[in-house]
Symmetry: D3
Amino acid sequence: MTMARDIAGLPMLLVVDAVRAALEEDLGRAGDITSLATIPANAVASAAIVARKPGVLAGLALAECAFRELDPEVRFRPRLSDGDALQSGAAAAEIEGNARAILSAERVALNFLCHLSGIATATAGLVAKVAHTRARICDTRKTLPGLRAFEKYAVRCGGGVNHRFGLDDAILIKDNHIAAVGGVAEAVRRARAGAGHLVKIEVEVDTVAQLAEAMTAAPDVVLLDNMPLAELRAAVQLVGGRAVTEASGGITPESIAAVAEAGVDMISSGWLTHSAPALDLGLDFAIAGAR
Amino acid sequence: MTMARDIAGLPMLLVVDAVRAALEEDLGRAGDITSLATIPANAVASAAIVARKPGVLAGLALAECAFRELDPEVRFRPRLSDGDALQSGAAAAEIEGNARAILSAERVALNFLCHLSGIATATAGLVAKVAHTRARICDTRKTLPGLRAFEKYAVRCGGGVNHRFGLDDAILIKDNHIAAVGGVAEAVRRARAGAGHLVKIEVEVDTVAQLAEAMTAAPDVVLLDNMPLAELRAAVQLVGGRAVTEASGGITPESIAAVAEAGVDMISSGWLTHSAPALDLGLDFAIAGAR
Amino acid sequence: MTMARDIAGLPMLLVVDAVRAALEEDLGRAGDITSLATIPANAVASAAIVARKPGVLAGLALAECAFRELDPEVRFRPRLSDGDALQSGAAAAEIEGNARAILSAERVALNFLCHLSGIATATAGLVAKVAHTRARICDTRKTLPGLRAFEKYAVRCGGGVNHRFGLDDAILIKDNHIAAVGGVAEAVRRARAGAGHLVKIEVEVDTVAQLAEAMTAAPDVVLLDNMPLAELRAAVQLVGGRAVTEASGGITPESIAAVAEAGVDMISSGWLTHSAPALDLGLDFAIAGAR
Amino acid sequence: MTMARDIAGLPMLLVVDAVRAALEEDLGRAGDITSLATIPANAVASAAIVARKPGVLAGLALAECAFRELDPEVRFRPRLSDGDALQSGAAAAEIEGNARAILSAERVALNFLCHLSGIATATAGLVAKVAHTRARICDTRKTLPGLRAFEKYAVRCGGGVNHRFGLDDAILIKDNHIAAVGGVAEAVRRARAGAGHLVKIEVEVDTVAQLAEAMTAAPDVVLLDNMPLAELRAAVQLVGGRAVTEASGGITPESIAAVAEAGVDMISSGWLTHSAPALDLGLDFAIAGAR
Amino acid sequence: MTMARDIAGLPMLLVVDAVRAALEEDLGRAGDITSLATIPANAVASAAIVARKPGVLAGLALAECAFRELDPEVRFRPRLSDGDALQSGAAAAEIEGNARAILSAERVALNFLCHLSGIATATAGLVAKVAHTRARICDTRKTLPGLRAFEKYAVRCGGGVNHRFGLDDAILIKDNHIAAVGGVAEAVRRARAGAGHLVKIEVEVDTVAQLAEAMTAAPDVVLLDNMPLAELRAAVQLVGGRAVTEASGGITPESIAAVAEAGVDMISSGWLTHSAPALDLGLDFAIAGAR
Amino acid sequence: MTMARDIAGLPMLLVVDAVRAALEEDLGRAGDITSLATIPANAVASAAIVARKPGVLAGLALAECAFRELDPEVRFRPRLSDGDALQSGAAAAEIEGNARAILSAERVALNFLCHLSGIATATAGLVAKVAHTRARICDTRKTLPGLRAFEKYAVRCGGGVNHRFGLDDAILIKDNHIAAVGGVAEAVRRARAGAGHLVKIEVEVDTVAQLAEAMTAAPDVVLLDNMPLAELRAAVQLVGGRAVTEASGGITPESIAAVAEAGVDMISSGWLTHSAPALDLGLDFAIAGAR
């Protein structure tokens, strides 16, 4: 409720709702029965959130919220900010408060933090590989249910850019839509007729020929799906700056630099959110007295 | 509401709640504006959920629920069951229904299915590596917030066993609890005094010496944390069947067989739920007429 | 759950949630104590939703949902569709079902229908006044809390177009943002740097001079706020098709045709959603037997 | 949570729930992306809620709650209270706090405030027209779904009285109930037999003859529906103080004084809540520094 | 969703919400692990809800809903209706459906049914004791949190009448309110000035003298609190039919007949809802095959 | 949010959710209209929660939360703690704060407190009767829907122990499960195969013969259901410490000592939670000024 730090683009109401739900999931109907049996009610502890591996930090506000929900008087001092690089052994934040509360909130705090920092770290890795080009890295809708706003925030922490947040905030015409309409240019035209003036229209194409037809309908963005590098280069040239170009499909850490060098504006990766491994962060903890 | 198939141990009420929340997250305030603009309202489609990579299936009921929420009349025919092995190219289920509804639900259905099948596949991989031993594979509380019940279900689909579901349904005494109490055996005794007679007590130890002390208090389960193989073998021998033995920490696909061969009953892995990569499944789709 | 009709762009999950909440608001803790005391439990009624004044229909699915929630066996037969013109005395739908359920749901059904049809009617009125021009009518975020998705749907039923749905799906730079940044063009540039490639950028300007500066940053849409007609015409000319033009501020039914004739693409009106009067629809009801 | 001011009869829990839902509706999944891109995180602003038109204020606590939810440290200083008359240009409240938070909450705060003040203003207008009589103005159940408690509060702010809040807290026997029972007096008797001793019973009649029959069953309130003035006067005389008299139907600002002069106790108007136009209030805003 | 029977005055939406919450409370995160391990997924069972003790039935719809939520295809055949007398050994309903579902829902169904039937039985007991008088039995707001609507429904099933449902639907002026105002008649007058015309006003008095003062303000109901029998008789005489009289305080099954014979209209009892013992009902169950 | 006292094993998030729901149930749509009409908005009161009968206190944090939700500035000073014995006339807590808020929260606070203290008092009564034996008293799943976590907490306050919290956190094999499997030992074996290593297995038996068979499968706990005393003694002897023994069925305050003297470890009682009468606590209240 009184958290001072800013979490850019992550509505605090969503943070509180998600953290409360996660705590209720973990505390169940009887709470942390281990800490209740072994830790005195008035014990005070000091703790630190420490990186066990290097990476990029994301989700500190969610961690803070977890501790604060169980101890409104907790002192949570960030040592780093979301988006910062973490060295192995570095402390992201220091915590002082009720010992039971800290232990009871630990897992929820770390579950958010390790997952989101994993995504930020993976994003930063791809961003670094294309830093010598104009390409930017973006995410997809291949997110874990219930966590999309947070995962997309983590992508931003890693230096990436967000694709649309849902089915409702941008139009993306895919092969199935094109097949239903009967043609790519006609599909774009129908989308434009149906969409509001503040909605962008992207269309997915598989070949340069299809791209050429699509461009007659002037889409805002073209998704170049699974194109070989030569075709990708031809596609970028054909577009000639009249639309944003986005490459997608089969992107690997090995192949991404070459894709970027083909000249596209954006490279989107579902892997960032559905498969990036967690970053290993832990809690160093010590009883510090009683109050 | 009228789904016929059984989903062992996954309360259907949780499934419906989670799927509805995921659909609301994806559909937002205006729904699937792309399909609305390009697919006729009365178009009917047939589709199939198809594996692009081999693995183990988990989460079919969540996928079905996603399609059914958007088209209560959908025909969803499973071709395989959760826990079955998937060959690359195999269909997990066939779907027939309103074309817009199928496209609008596709991403949510696949997001659940790919994530959970990824966990089941990873679990089955570890299970296979220890099949020649008595060891069983289990999960941890390192799950993604909001998804624990589903992720633990996926572990069961992969042949694994579940550790506790939350802080409230079993006691697990860790180093911090022991430090607060001042001794491992005393910690177990306090836990037993506080816990009900239907709650099991597990205690984490780092060394055989600590284990010996712990065993004087007769815990139900001992967690052998990060022990070298030789120490692990000594620990198993010391316990001598008087408690369940669980190995944890630094388990890798390479090292797991050796850990299992040390004779432990259980091996727990946080990686299964926090970092297993998604299994690649997709939707093959075709317009099949109108009604 | 089994409603057959299509409600374009209005996620059914939102409809059900809103209707249930409205019914709970009206039924309270004891239900419809008047009908319980006076209508036999097994009485069957036939009813019709009838327009008392002419207008444009919007919200039929919400009305149907209200009756269906209280009588899952109700027969609800639409005679018209959302977006259709209603003559005074015309029936929008016919209903047959449990008499108590119909009377208990009546007010909720009509409260949605009269409000949304009022918005659709108001929208259609403005659309008609600019039909001889290229201008389209759009809404704003001046909606009633909790009803935005439905009110924006009603605007579409009336022939209008939707502006953004929330603070998160498009950028609209207003005077306060410009003042904070120190200049309109710089504000647009910062917005572009921060926004994803699927987010459109609109900027509000008060004068042609400010517009000229804004255009150097190539916004997608320009909001021409409260401009006199001569200035509006100059603004449209200056833009010259390089951005969508939207007029706003002080639009009245009397003035709107002249604004449209100035050549703008869009005219936005908060009045449509915050002040359009309800359309008068009522329920004709008769007991038809018992079952 | 710590708002000091009293909001008579408006449970604060309802206020917080409604404001949070409205903020989530507006902030969506990514928050106020415009302010995030253009306003520094630490900028502080001072603002004022100012009336652009004269009217009666209602809903200040909802506005305060919106700002406070996004900035718990905000200073919100009311200059007027709900129910006070607003001159054009008058400030209802002054606000000082985080600049982003103020801009992000602005629309939600104003949407509540303009709608509720519109209702209070409309109510006060009718109240003034009947001030020379004994008649009081009351509302109906023709409210906007989800907003009933707030709209009825606004009617009280405007000097009106509330009719029942839902189907469950008073009995109102209408034509359809009478038809089902077969007679007005019998309907009242059945209602009395079914209702608790703390529930009032009102019956709607269309004619003096029907009223005479109804009075034999001693209702608490009679609703005189759509009666011509002469009949209304006769009805009031017939009742002779043995029940509260309420006139309803076809009330207009022009006709209301004559209706009141007929001697009724109450005049109810659905228009107050379903069609009263919003009162125009805006936010004057200026960056005031940083912290 | 498709339950056919009527539950007078108990909104079905409240039933479904309460039953789902109760099932989620009981099924937790892993469901009925005992039945999952021992009952085949396709086993079909027949069962009966049987009274182990005599009493009055209440809550059958909640029981049905519990079974239906876990098996939408269940056949639930009521043999008796709410309000009916139950003999020991009598079946209230017969059930046929999925064996696991019936066992998993059993406890929730019985928990509702035994509690509510306990209240109905207790109510009927008091009603019988005063059947020779004009007195009716009513409840209070001393209900268990979250269960008020259901408990008050059970009171009606037992032949009782409901007092107000909450703080908002009737005025009850107690000693603390009178002390704050400075006098009982003045308190009634203030209440009348503040309340709508559809709200009844009750005032609590301790003595006949206080009652005499209260009657000068013409309350609708007087609560005669803890009066000795002689004073109660005097009070009833003083009121003389000008208000409803309600006796309260220290009512026991032994004393209630004498209280009723003092001539009061109503006798209210908190014991009905806060302390009535559960009625013993159980589930007779047998596996009946497989499907 | 800032409540200082510890409530062992009762997650504060559950407390806040339950109290808010109870307040919304009682305050309804218009709030405490009696206090609003009679108590000045700025009146301050001092009050005390006082026992009218002796017993054991449970639920103080829920009471505090009720007052705090309606007046965040309230001063709530506990004089006793949960689990303490209450003398008749003793104050459990003193309260100082806004007079309206205290009166509006009174009923919710007392409804929780009287119910939970009733359970604690009943539990303590049984505990005292078996204090000379090794037996401990435990609860069942026969709890009131929505209140289980609180009721089980109250059992602990009274000196009892909790049985499982739901269907998911321990296995309890009953007669119907045994019948479906075909034998008690086989049922235990199937349960063990299906359950995780942190789940205890209890089996219900009716006779010593059945117990003997069950013991061959080494359950953790045996439930000795409705056994005569002689059989109970034989059962305890047969088990010989190899499992926890729990007696259940037909336990009365009169019979419980004899059951305990038969040597069982646990005695479970559904009566504690489904039928224990409320403990009588009230609120002493006085206006103390204004602020």
